[in-house]
Amino acid sequence: MTYIPKPKLHHPSLPKNKLGFTHRDYEGSVSTLCAGCGHDSISAAIIQACYELDLPPHRIAKLSGIGCSSKTPDYFLGNSHGFNSVHGRMPSVLTGANLANKDLIYLGVSGDGDSASIGFGQFAHSIRRGVNMVYVVENNGVYGLTKGQFSATSDKGSKSKYGALNNDSAIDMIGIALQLGATFVARGFSGDKDQLVPLIKAAMNHHGAAFIDCISPCVAFNNHAGSTKSFDYVREHNETVNRLDVMVDHEPITADYAPGTVELVTQHDGSVLRLRKIAAHYDPSDRIAVMNYLQERAAAGEIVTGLLYVDPEGQDLHDYLNTVDKPLNELGTADLVPGNAALAKLNESLR
């Protein structure tokens, strides 16, 4: 990593997206993570996804907890508001932010310690509520920032650098998210950007709670042989069930595919997900079958990646609460204060 801040002036030849923004307009300040940390690749994928989706950076709010992973929102989308809250509590802060303004895109970034250990409850309940968000766990199976202790996704039986043995069974966040009613569930790998970028794009277009478990090796503390969160292990055991293309402005589907190899899913917002099947019989719309399949593959030591489950008609918390279309943070005195006449009437009823 370097310390000379990159010049922000735009080279005219830099490619621009529909909004006239260049890739740089979606970058953040320079990362302070270890060279080679998986988290930096995820930041790059987020930048890529937002650029390709032509999203106005300021319409995205990025929130996180505490950890190396939770630091990353500082390293992408420099023109977006960011909130690095407290350890394990991003989900509640994001939920509140979302209530205040239903019009922004909410990107929650967390770690496995942040979401599976201290934050397991908040993770679970934010999913249950159907908060409209993209919830990314940068899962390295270890506490990076505090130097290598176990998290709740660490492999049972693994040994920490100071000799402790992990005896707790590891939490599979995907399985939990599915049980709790997430309407979009995917697993990615920081080492496979081609797969990850479309997953993030699809999640951002999803209406409801979209959860992405992204394996993201920690080169400093959990990339050794034997770690199921190491680059090598994930590469060897990565079982991809499908590949995804996200089409937001409904280009006609020209290319034709062998029957049963492609599935088109139209999400609530009109965006179309083109699923190129790899595991022929994998059906990401059958929640129970998906859970069963994932359990079996996990038992076999395989890491299943791809868009694992999607309910394109997912509802969100605002639908449930039946809130007005105008963001709550734009309502003014006239909208909110009933006035003195109402009080006079109320007083009468209290005598």
């Binding site: 106005p56 950076p57 300021h58 319409r59 709010a61 929130l63 929102p73 500082d74 420099g78 023109n79 977006s80 508001h81 960011g82 909130f83 690095n84 809250s85 407290v86 509590r89 989900p91 509640s92 802060v93 994001l94 939920t95 509140g96 932010a97 979302n98 209530l99 205040a100 303004n101 019009d103 922004l104 409850g121 908040q122 309940h125 509520r129 918390l317 605002h318 609460l321 039946n322 809130t323 007005v324 279309d325 709550l328 943070n329 309502l331 003014g332 005195t333 909208d335 909110l336 204060v337 009933p338 006035g339 003195n340 109402a342 009080l343 109320l346 007083n347 209290l350 005598r351």
Partner: protein, 614 residues
């Protein structure tokens, strides 16, 4: 047999019932009827932490003079609960009255010979007319109201009106209730003589309203423009959130679309609730949570984030008896230090102290302006006595010209016109910087919020001087807060005096009553009611003006006194704690006794020890 008490519009009636027996509405009917007769009442529930079957009490103080604090002692006991019979009888003042269900004979040994016993065969009467067990239970309550009406010579028409108002909509319930009422009246008229204590029509209530502080605070939140409420159930604050939902449904549904101009979320716990509040407030909505002590403790870490990252938030703490689970259904003012200095590191948080539902409403609204203007969490400190009991309080009013004050926020136009966001820079000397809401402008005004150390422009910094400058600015901001806290209310003694008294919150009515009595006894005290923290110079000067100031609090450790001394550098020796903390509301009698005793003790013992002992 000591002579029967004689009193008009000045006595205490206590109902002893069983939790869940439906007595609550009958008892409230009794209290409201007296109010409608123009005589002030103060009513208090004393209930257990359970749902059904345990003893509960409802205490009604009738006071034309307008003393709304708890008096202590009972003039008329309505003993409907065999479990607590002995204790209940014991509480009756000599010459007082016992009202009971005389259906089953009770051995004379179970009575006292210095009280007047009034038996009415309630069960027999009700069973004659009604067969359904639930009805029997409910109407038995109405029957004793009727009997009491006759005995206390209350206005029957008034009671009937209240009954018909109460059952508006379910009109066919009106007749049987009125009937039950008269069954009680008739029995009493035919078999009993009126008591020495009596209600007489008066005009002492004025235009005041009768409501609980939780509802009033919730109404304040509606008028304060709160749009997001995240909460977790806990006694005694649960009803506050429920009332907010009720008022929002009434006042905040969009006429055309029928959609909600509010969002209420029951969090999975208090950590989530305050997290949701901070997230919503960060994103430009007015947000609050309501809880009690245990919840405040769980919010501690997040409150520190709100303080340091400077995020508006309103926390309504309906205080109950602590520590830990403590006495969930009893009252105390014992979360003051916990709230004022909540969280690790150097932190301070403004608090507001409403004295009654009226102020719960005003301060409930004010808290949101303060939070936005100061960009920090604000605590509204209720307690169970104010929160869960109906109080007679001044009618609600609102100045319709008032606009919500969002504090220092840069909007699109500001940024577009070149105003630069310097998030944590003290441009105005008040310690407060400007903020922006997320999504305001495509290229200007975004910033990164964090609980870690940061510079004037919100960038991460571990630099010592940068840190010091920032936290010293927070002290200036706290100075600014002083100016926003409602001024303390002073009432001077009739005669010049070297003694003063400080008090706050639900202590008010008892304090005012005590001041009157003491004045009559020739004890002159200048009094000052604190309405919030931090304390203004008026408070400090008040203490300096007096040789000796008594500080009345409803906690064990003189917590508010600690805050005063800490923030003011006043000599604690001049501030003598007077502490009531058994979980019942403080009474005038207690205050009078303590202060009298302390004044005596003063001349023998050095102050420090007095303070130590108190």
């Amino acid at each position: 047999m000591s002579k029967p008490l004689e009193a008009v519009n000045d006595f205490v009636v206590k109902f002893a019932n069983v939790n869940g027996s439906g007595s609550a509405s009958a008892n409230e009917l009794f209290a409201r009827s007296i109010l409608r007769m123009g005589v002030p009442v103060a009513s208090r529930n004393i209930f257990p932490s359970n749902i059904q079957g345990l003893p509960t009490w409802y205490e009604v103080r009738v006071s034309e003079a307008g003393h709304l604090g708890r008096r202590g002692g009972v003039d008329l006991m309505v003993a409907m609960n065999p479990q607590t019979w002995n204790a209940d009888i014991g509480e009756i003042e000599p010459g007082g009255y016992l009202f009971y269900d005389s259906t089953k004979p009770i051995p004379p040994s179970k009575f006292r010979d210095d009280i007047n016993v009034v038996g009415v065969p309630l069960t027999a009467i009700v069973n004659k007319e009604f067969s359904d067990p639930r009805q029997r239970q409910l109407f038995k309550n109405i029957i004793y109201v009727g009997a009491l009406a006759a005995l206390l010579n209350m206005d029957v028409a008034t009671i009937e009106t209240l009954i018909s108002e109460q059952f508006q909509g379910k009109d066919k319930l009106i007749a049987p209730n009125v009937k039950a009422l008269h069954m009680g009246i008739d029995y009493a008229k035919q078999n009993l003589a009126p008591l020495g204590i009596r209600v007489r029509k008066a005009d002492a209530v004025g235009n005041r309203v009768f409501i609980d502080g939780n509802s009033a605070a919730a109404l304040g939140a509606v008028y304060g423009g709160a749009t997001v409420c995240a909460w977790y159930p806990i006694t005694p604050s649960t009803a506050l959130a429920e009332a907010f939902m009720k008022y929002c449904r009434r006042y905040r549904m969009d006429k055309e679309t029928g959609k909600a101009k509010f969002a209420i979320v029951q969090g999975e716990d208090e950590l989530a609730s305050i997290g949701i509040v901070l997230g919503a407030a960060w994103n430009g909505a007015r947000a609050f949570t309501c809880t009690s002590g245990p919840g405040v403790s769980l919010m501690t870490e997040f409150v520190g984030l709100g303080y340091y990252a400077e995020i508006p938030a309103v926390i309504m703490d309906v205080q109950r008896g602590g520590p830990s689970t403590g006495m969930p259904t009893r009252t105390q003012q014992a979360d003051l230090i916990g709230a004022a200095y909540a969280s690790h590191g150097d932190t301070k948080h403004p608090m507001l102290f409403p004295e009654d539902p009226g102020e719960c409403f005003e301060m409930g609204a004010l808290a949101f302006d303060m939070a936005d203007r100061l960009q920090t969490p604000i605590f509204l400190m209720l307690d169970l006595d104010i929160g869960m009991n109906d109080w007679l309080t001044k009618p609600f009013q609102w100045d319709d010209s008032k606009q919500i004050d969002r504090g220092k926020v840069l909007n699109y136009e500001d940024l577009q016109s070149g105003k630069e966001l310097q998030r944590y820079t003290d441009l105005d000397g008040d310690g407060i910087g400007f903020r922006t809401y997320p999504g305001t402008h495509p290229t200007k005004g975004s910033y990164f919020t964090r609980g870690s150390s940061h510079d004037r422009l919100a960038k991460y910094s571990e630099n010592g001087p940068v840190y010091v400058e920032n936290v010293q600015r927070l002290l200036r901001k706290f100075e600014t807060a002083k100016k926003m806290i409602p001024a303390p209310v002073r009432r001077d003694a009739k005669a010049k005096t070297k003694y003063g008294v400080l008090y706050f919150g639900s202590t008010s009515p008892s304090m005012h009553e005590a001041l009157g009595v003491l004045e009559e006894q020739g004890v002159h005290l200048n009094a000052m009611r604190l309405r919030g923290f931090p304390f203004s110079d008026d408070v400090i000067n008040f203490v300096l003006e007096h040789e000796q100031v008594f500080f009345i609090e409803q906690n064990r450790d003189a917590q508010c006194r600690t805050l005063l001394v800490t923030e003011s550098n006043l000599d604690p020796a001049r501030i003598v704690p007077v502490l009531h903390y058994d979980g019942t509301p403080i009474t005038a009698r207690f205050i009078i006794d303590k202060i009298s005793a302390l004044l005596k003790a003063r001349n023998v013992a050095p102050l420090r020890e007095v303070a130590g002992r108190a």
